[in-house]
């Protein structure tokens, strides 16, 4: 089955955003990061769909909502292969890929148990020092958190 048919299977969208190529296991993290549970418009999810690239992928369609780039880029940490389509009148008007931002605030925990962010109510803040492998340097304790150590703080 082609990707296009799969998308249709989940149900067509008139206006809004389609986030495709989310790896299936990260779907619920993406939902939390984008705070989709707080959105009032119609949302449809599909998960465990076949994908050559990801094995099992997930897709989300959010009606009447268009995200800001900075919000969308937050999901790059969880799902770096995600692709975004903006839909107007059933047509794709813009396609883009997510991009790991230069700095990350909140979302991720610092790997260092002795870091202030793990000991007091301090929001985490990181500089991204390696976008390809997602390596983050803590603004506070200056230790690096690598992709395999990422724990989401949602």
């Amino acid at each position: 089955m082609s990707t296009e048919n799969q998308v249709k299977k989940v149900s067509a969208l008139r206006n809004g955003t389609v986030i495709d190529h989310i790896s299936a296991k990260d779907l619920f993290n993406v939902i939390s990061i984008l705070k989709l549970d707080k959105i009032e418009t119609q949302i449809t999810f599909g998960t465990n769909l076949g994908s050559n690239k990801l094995g099992k992928k997930a897709i989300i369609k959010i009606s009447e909502v268009f995200f800001k780039d900075e919000d969308i880029n937050k999901i790059a940490l969880v799902s770096p292969h995600a692709k975004l389509n903006r839909i107007k009148d059933f047509k794709v008007v813009e396609k883009r890929e997510v991009e790991v931002p230069d700095t990350i605030t909140g979302i991720v925990k610092c790997v260092n148990p002795k870091c202030i962010t793990n000991n007091e109510k301090v929001r985490t803040k990181f500089t991204v020092i390696d976008k390809d492998n997602v390596s983050l340097k803590c603004h506070y304790c200056e230790k690096n958190t690598n992709h395999e150590d990422l724990i989401y703080n949602l």
């Binding site: 002795k114 870091c115 202030i116 301090v122 506070y140 200056e142 230790k143």
Partner: protein, 302 residues
Amino acid sequence: MKNKSLVSIDDYSKEDYLKIIDLAEEFEKNPVSDILKGKVISTLFFEPSTRTRLSFESAVNKLGGRIIGFTDAASSSVKKGESLKDTILTVANYSDLIVMRHPIEGSARYASEVSGVPVVNAGDGANQHPTQTLLDLYSIKKTQGTLENLNIFLVGDLKYGRTVHSLLMAMSMFNPTFNFISPKTLRIPDEYKIYLDSKGIKYYEHDDFTDYISEGDIMYMTRVQRERFADPIEYEKVKNSYILKNHMLEGTKDNLRILHPLPRVNEIDDEVDDNEKAYYFTQALNGVFTRQAIITSILGLK
């Protein structure tokens, strides 16, 4: 530097280092004055560090400033469960500058963000201790006449030693050659080697003291701590390999000076203390002038 907190050694540029060194030299000539008269400096020590605290307090007292603060968390409101934020917001009302020592890493950066007055980090866990690095730089400059093109030996625990890491980063601006002497398990972390490679700085690694020390200008000793070894047998094997003794200094350069951030345990034999190349106690004195330089420049008085 005026009104700017000093949290990490990266907060200062090469020019800033040189300015602090020049100022420290000035204070060494005239360590007593009234320049801090009317100023209140808080020394908040959430964990004890007698040496560092006394050095700061001596620096301020000699310049006519007043000190308020506490010497360990047990005697502060932290014991009652107050957050760091609340402590800092309160104390910032009472003082012109906060000197803070805290066991939690990143606490100083956070304090500098909530505080209305500048914060000087006097050590945040294993993270940063920038005034130590600046006094090390001042000691090197004073003993060698320059910071440029020196051959620097770093000895002992190079894996966890934060003073070593900060000194390495700061000295890298002055075209040094580094020689690392450490047990295999306490070698300098790769991230620093990658950094040195990227700057084209030469470095060599050794398992024990070698004849190469005859080329050294500075030998920076650190403690090899028992608790860093998962295997106590491993510690027993290496513990005596990193002790500096007088006879090892024969044939070294006249200008070689031995530095140590202190406290020392046994890594420098007592007999070395009388050697003219031993510099660690004068290094501690230099800390007073360096801290005078840092505090007055942050307060915009110099």
